[in-house]
């Protein structure tokens, strides 16, 4: 938790002030990145200190672009990005203190894992790259004696090799873009434990994900990115609460939509309702109450319920909600 000042629950969306920390290792200030007419990142400001921070957002939200900006792989259109006080794009020394596991799957496929990680160590100027590669591979539960080329590795094994290559220089800032994709549950648990250990050691560890449950296990610090903007910052539990508190939209298929709609409104269970020939769609902030009462009310009215289905119970809709609230 060092270096992080979690905002109060109410502060979560929208970020009332720039999400900055005192001992920042990564500073992103008013950064915008455009690719032609497409704005991938829009006026984002935050800073991150030691420990694990999750970057949460749907696919295409701008998470990878933000990571690329931090690593200097692309220059911001506006604003500044500083890692350990410098611009990784131009500062050679800082590049040696960053570890990146990129999202793309490409590796030098004809090399073995140990050779690939050792080369990563050599190109990072590590004093004993062979020993460092063995340590890094051990961290991700891969054998340094494996003679199979990387081209023959499964998706999950390739992910672990990328992670080992990012760890080999014992970086101060470790950036992992969707690192849990393709891992089996056992490896996923192991990696999450490793991330926590690294964070506890004082490394600034940024991990992106589009899966809310993954983020729940990664740690409590979350930056929510949606449509290229910082939609929310803060504690994961606040985000979870927000998900439960926000209006939910539920579709009810029934043979008596109008009487059922009237009864739900009368009892104050819904905030809004629209009725069609064989269904009604309701908006409610009391999902639990609605769930308990809908069957009871239907029985009282003699209505037959065919289907009760939430239409927006996915992460995308949460992001949309956060963005709309800004």
């Amino acid at each position: 938790m060092a270096g992080w000042a979690p905002p109060a629950a109410a502060d979560l969306p929208p970020p009332a002030a720039p999400a900055t920390v005192a001992d920042a290792m990564v500073e992103v200030e008013h950064v915008t990145k455009s690719f032609g007419d497409v704005v991938a990142v829009s006026d984002v400001t935050f800073s991150v200190g030691p420990g694990v921070t999750a970057l949460l957002g749907p696919n295409g939200a701008g998470k990878s672009t933000l990571f690329r900006l931090m690593c200097g792989l692309t220059a911001p259109t506006k604003g500044t990005v500083r890692v350990l006080g410098a611009d990784a794009r131009s500062d050679r020394e800082v590049r040696g203190r960053i570890g990146l596991a990129p999202q793309q799957d490409a590796l030098f496929d004809r090399l073995t894992a140990s050779r690939f990680v050792e080369l990563a160590g050599r190109t990072h100027g590590v004093a004993d790259p062979t020993a460092a590669s063995h340590r890094a591979l051990d961290h991700v539960a891969l054998s340094a004696d494996e003679t199979k080329p990387l081209g023959a590795y499964s998706k999950g094994m390739r992910q672990r090799v990328k992670l080992a290559a990012a760890l080999v220089n014992e970086p101060d800032v470790l950036i992992l873009d969707e690192p849990l994709t393709g891992l089996d549950p056992v490896q996923r648990n192991r990696m999450i434990r490793l991330f926590h250990e690294l964070g506890d050691d004082g490394i600034c560890l940024l991990v992106s994900s589009h899966v809310l449950d993954e983020v729940a296990r990664l740690g409590s610090r979350v930056l929510v990115i949606a449509q290229g903007r910082l939609a929310a910052t803060g504690d994961y539990r606040d985000l979870r609460n927000l998900m439960d508190d926000r209006p939910h939209r539920i579709r009810v298929t029934t043979d008596s939509p109008r009487p059922l709609a009237a009864a739900l409104v009368d009892r104050g269970l819904v905030d809004g309702v629209s009725v069609s020939a064989a269904a009604l769609v309701v908006d409610t902030t009391d999902v639990d109450g609605f769930g308990r009462q809908i069957a009871v009310i239907a029985r009282e009215l003699g209505a037959r319920l065919t289907e009760v289905e939430p239409t927006d119970d996915d992460l995308e809709s949460v992001f949309r909600y956060l963005v709309e609230r800004r």
């Binding site: 690329r68 690593c71 200097g72 792989l73 692309t74 220059a75 990784a88 131009s90 050679r92 020394e93 590049r95 040696g96 203190r97 960053i98 990146l100 990129p102 793309q104 799957d105 490409a106 590796l107 030098f108 004809r110 090399l111 080369l119 990563a120 160590g121 050599r122 190109t123 990072h124 100027g125 590590v126 004093a127 290559a165 220089n169 014992e170 970086p171 101060d172």
Partner: protein, 246 residues
């Protein structure tokens, strides 16, 4: 302990090793060995023909028209455009780029790798071709020298092309076939911007056989391509520093 800045010579060596390993694929080698062998076979057939009055002149024309145009430039294009271009396109460039290394050793290492792989696939078949034609020692010497100079220059230019263009092979073929093959024949300035003119000048200067576009001195034939290579590598280094990396 984080990584430390890597010395430039070490960076050249590391890049060279990585790129050589990525460049040498069985498919590329087989295809380009076949092209080289074909040039040697054509030269052998010409050398064996009875109606050849001047084997040296015939040899110079075969080496210049077929060897330099179809072999040296194409082999260098295939390897050099892929040297960093493939890494840029498949996303592995990040494993060289996000490192505590200067940019120029990456460009130089990649160029060295492309030239190293290209040289045996060009020098050997053309040296064999020149001896099969029986053009004498001067033809073989001129062929080897011009081929080395050509590979050095083409490799640097096409390493740069690999960083500049998405379909660098197509752009490179356009340069070889359209610019060097057609445009260069119509104007002095265009001819001076064609590597082919310099390799032809080397062979002309050494053998005294006149060739179109081969009117420069031996010194210019050697020096200008080397300067062009250095300039291309400087631009490639700058491009590496400024480009977006996937």
């Amino acid at each position: 302990m984080s990584g430390r800045p890597v010395g430039s010579l070490d960076a050249v060596r590391l890049t060279y090793g990585i790129v050589v390993r990525q460049l040498v694929t069985r498919g590329r080698l087989i295809a380009l060995v076949i092209v080289g062998a074909a040039v040697a076979v054509v030269a052998g057939a010409i050398g064996a023909a009875d109606e050849i009055d001047d084997p040296l002149e015939a040899g110079v024309r075969v080496i210049a028209d077929l060897g330099f145009t179809a072999l040296v430039s194409i082999v260098a294009l295939v390897f050099a455009s892929a040297a960093l271009g493939d890494a840029r396109e498949d996303g592995t460039l990040v494993y060289l780029w996000l490192r505590p290394m200067h940019r120029w050793p990456i460009a130089v290492g990649a160029w060295g790798a492309a030239a190293t792989v290209s040289l045996p696939l060009t020098v050997v078949p053309l040296a064999v071709a020149s001896s099969l034609i029986d053009g004498g020692g001067s033809l073989t010497g001129a062929t080897v020298l011009a081929t080395v100079v050509g590979v050095v220059a083409y490799a640097a230019i096409f390493v740069l092309a690999g960083l500049l263009f998405k379909n660098s092979i197509v752009w490179g073929l356009g340069y070889i076939l359209i610019w060097e093959g057609i445009v260069a024949a119509f104007g002095d300035l265009a001819a001076r911007l064609a590597i082919r003119g310099y390799t032809r000048s080397i062979i002309t200067a050494i053998t005294d056989v006149d060739l179109e576009l081969g009117d420069l001195s031996l010194a210019a034939g050697i020096a200008v391509p080397l300067v062009a290579a250095a300039l291309a590598l400087a631009l490639a280094s700058r491009r590496l520093a400024k480009m977006d990396v996937a």
